[in-house]
């Protein structure tokens, strides 16, 4: 119970199956406040499913999912979980294509989310300044008034990270942030995530080993819906079980 109480995210024995296929089978994971964790694992290991469960999209069949030691996430809907401080970046970059880059951030900015409040909303100077700041962080200031659909793939990934930051979450779940990026962009994204991690807890799912190495944080290997190994990257990379999963077939 102590472990749960001192964690920002606590998963214990989480299992879920889709039409009989067990996507997660007894997954347990503890993220400490301020930690950054990298999660790797072959295709179909259940990484995205895990995020679906944390963010309220999918309900687990069994197991415990706690946020900040006490909040049971399995009972809440997506909007409530987001408002509590869990932000999520999708595997396939999803931004609002027919909005400008700036409006994407405006919509994401932490603020009252009720229809009445948004109907009569007008931006304050602080909010405008915050958005300028975010635009600088994600290096999209010069594209602020372009439609998001005209961004390159990498820029969309960055915009989505910016949208995540705008929500001011306590915990960020980032699913494959560097898919489709050039090497230079990948390294920059690693730097950005490390910067973000100075103030927030982060869980990153990624296949790209160079990227995971660059992050330099504790790694959890998922396989067939459960944790296979956990530790520093060099330690897990030399684990025979891990080698077998990645190369053995």
């Amino acid at each position: 119970m102590d472990i749960a109480a001192n964690s920002i995210l606590y998963l214990d024995g989480v299992a879920v199956s889709f039409d009989g296929y067990k996507a997660l089978r007894g997954l347990s994971l503890v993220i400490e406040p301020g930690e950054m964790r990298a999660i790797i694992g072959p295709n179909g290991a259940g990484k995205t499913t895990m995020m679906d469960i944390i963010t309220g999209k999918t309900r687990p069949d069994e197991g415990e999912v706690l946020f900040e030691g006490s909040t049971d996430l399995t009972k809440l809907d997506e909007a409530t979980i987001a408002e509590m401080g869990i932000g999520r970046k999708f595997q396939k970059p999803t931004v609002f294509e027919s909005h400008t880059v700036r409006d994407n951030l405006v919509l994401s900015l932490k603020d009252n989310r009720s229809p009445f409040a948004t109907l009569f909303h007008s931006s304050t100077e602080e909010q405008d300044a915050r958005i300028d700041e975010l635009l600088t962080t994600i290096k999209l200031t010069h594209r602020a008034y372009d439609l998001a659909r005209n961004l390159s793939h990498g820029q969309k990934q960055w915009l989505e990270i910016g949208m995540l930051l705008a929500q001011e979450p306590k915990l960020l779940l980032v699913d494959e942030p560097v898919a489709g990026m050039t090497d230079a962009e990948t390294m920059e994204t690693a730097a950005l995530l490390r910067e973000i991690n100075k103030t927030k807890s982060v869980v990153v799912v990624e296949h790209d080993m160079a990227f995971v190495r660059e992050l330099g944080v504790k790694v959890t290997v998922l396989h067939e819906g459960a944790v296979l190994a956990e530790g520093p990257i060099d330690y897990v990379a030399n684990d025979p079980k891990v080698i077998e999963v990645y190369l053995g077939r």
């Binding site: 999209k57 809907d77 997506e78 999708f90 919509l107 948004t118 290096k139 990498g154 230079a184 920059e188």
Partner: protein, 388 residues
């Protein structure tokens, strides 16, 4: 708060469109009233009525565009809200007949006397007051939309399934209103209206008044819709349309937003119906028929969805075409409508207004690039992410 909301609604395009509508609103009745009969610029009363009717259709189209164009909810049942607003107005007009009906009953409308009813049903109480009837014009469609939306959107019914149940809703109402014991006149509906607010409903002057009222309400509807669309709420609606689950993960309660906009839209459709009935002088259950709702979708598609003004253009253009076509080749109208539904999206996927504004935008941006080639490239270069 309300003021800043309305100011935001007045973007250039909306303002121009409202100006045009106001000009028509003034010019048509003036020409009808003051130019001598036979003058080339005089608009005859029946033509004015025709365009007044299109005006009410245009308001229905704007309300539909709000939910479909901006929030992606393809309602195939908006005709129901229109008809309910129409019935509320019809009930007021019915009670204005008073003792002038065939059976000369001061309280009961003719059809009730005919059915041997002894007392006015509760549903008809209060409809002798114009104010009460106008509240009902908004309240009844709004309430239905709210309850419907509450259940449908909370259980996350979307896409085709949602369209089908909206269609089922209007069909169910069609069947219900056909029944005599519902107390709304059965398949004959409500008609034989005599006057509205004390004015003879068939008089030319009253008809001019109705035309003006329709145009003003259309302007107001466009203004409110534009205010909504330009607000942050409007941006959330577009976000829902484009990426519903993303919107949810940012923390917006999508079901609440959909219910709100669906309800506002239904109220607007109700007003459109209430303007329609005193101009066509009848309301019957056929207004609930699913085909009507589908036609409204076609107007919006032809005019350009998600542009508001396109809805107005589409409603007027298609109905004007319909009137012309049914006059020339009565048997072929349905085929023409079908062809329009198929060919329209193929030839002009963004509708009339959408295609025009695309063309203008392209012209503008190519001019901009032509004048600033070097700078825009420099910005592009300087900005590509580099390793630190």
């Amino acid at each position: 708060m309300i003021i800043s909301f309305l100011i935001k609604g007045l973007d250039r395009r909306t303002a121009i469109c409202m100006l045009v509508l106001l000009l028509i609103c003034a010019a048509v009745p003036l020409s009808n009233a003051y130019l001598p009969v036979g003058h080339p610029f005089r608009i005859p009363t029946d033509e004015m009525l025709q365009f007044g009717k299109y005006g009410s259709y245009a308001l229905l189209a704007v309300s539909l565009d709000l939910v479909w164009g901006y929030c992606g909810i393809l309602s195939l049942g908006h005709g129901a809200f229109f008809a309910l607003g129409g019935y509320a107005m019809g009930m007021y007009l019915m009670r204005q007949i008073g003792a002038r009906g065939v059976y000369a009953n001061p309280i009961l409308p003719d059809f009730m006397v005919f059915l041997n009813w002894k007392a006015l049903p509760v549903t008809w109480y209060g409809f002798n007051w114009f104010g009460y009837a106008m509240v009902m014009v908004l309240l009844v469609p709004g309430l239905l939309a709210f309850v419907f939306g509450w259940f449908a959107f909370r259980s996350r019914v979307t896409g085709v399934y949602l369209s089908i149940i909206t269609q089922a809703m209007t069909y169910a109402l069609l069947l219900a209103f056909f029944r005599n014991d519902m107390g709304f006149g059965g398949n004959n509906g409500l008609t034989d209206f005599k006057d509205i607010l004390g004015y003879n409903i068939q008089a030319d002057s009253t008809r001019r008044g109705l035309f003006v009222a329709t145009m003003l309400m259309l302007c107001l509807g466009l203004w409110v819709a534009s205010g909504i669309v330009n607000s942050k709420l409007g941006k959330v609606l577009i976000a829902i349309r484009d990426a519903e689950s993303r919107t949810r993960f940012i923390g917006y309660r999508v079901a609440e937003y959909k219910t709100v906009i669906f309800t506002i839209s239904a109220c607007m459709a109700g007003v459109a119906g209430a303007l329609y009935v005193p101009q066509v002088l009848i309301i019957n259950p056929s207004e609930f028929s699913p085909g009507n709702s589908i036609e409204a979708v076609i107007w919006v598609a032809v005019g350009g969805r998600g542009t508001l003004i396109g809805a107005i253009v589409g409603a007027v253009a298609v109905n004007w075409g319909k009137t012309w076509f049914t006059g020339q080749f009565p048997e072929f109208w349905l085929f023409a409508l079908g062809a329009l539904f198929v060919a329209g999206p193929l030839l002009l996927p963004k509708g009339i207004v959408g295609s025009i504004s695309d063309m203008l935008a392209k012209k503008k941006s190519s001019q901009m690039y032509a004048s600033l080639p070097a700078t825009s490239e420099a910005v592009e270069d300087g900005a590509s992410p580099t390793v630190e």
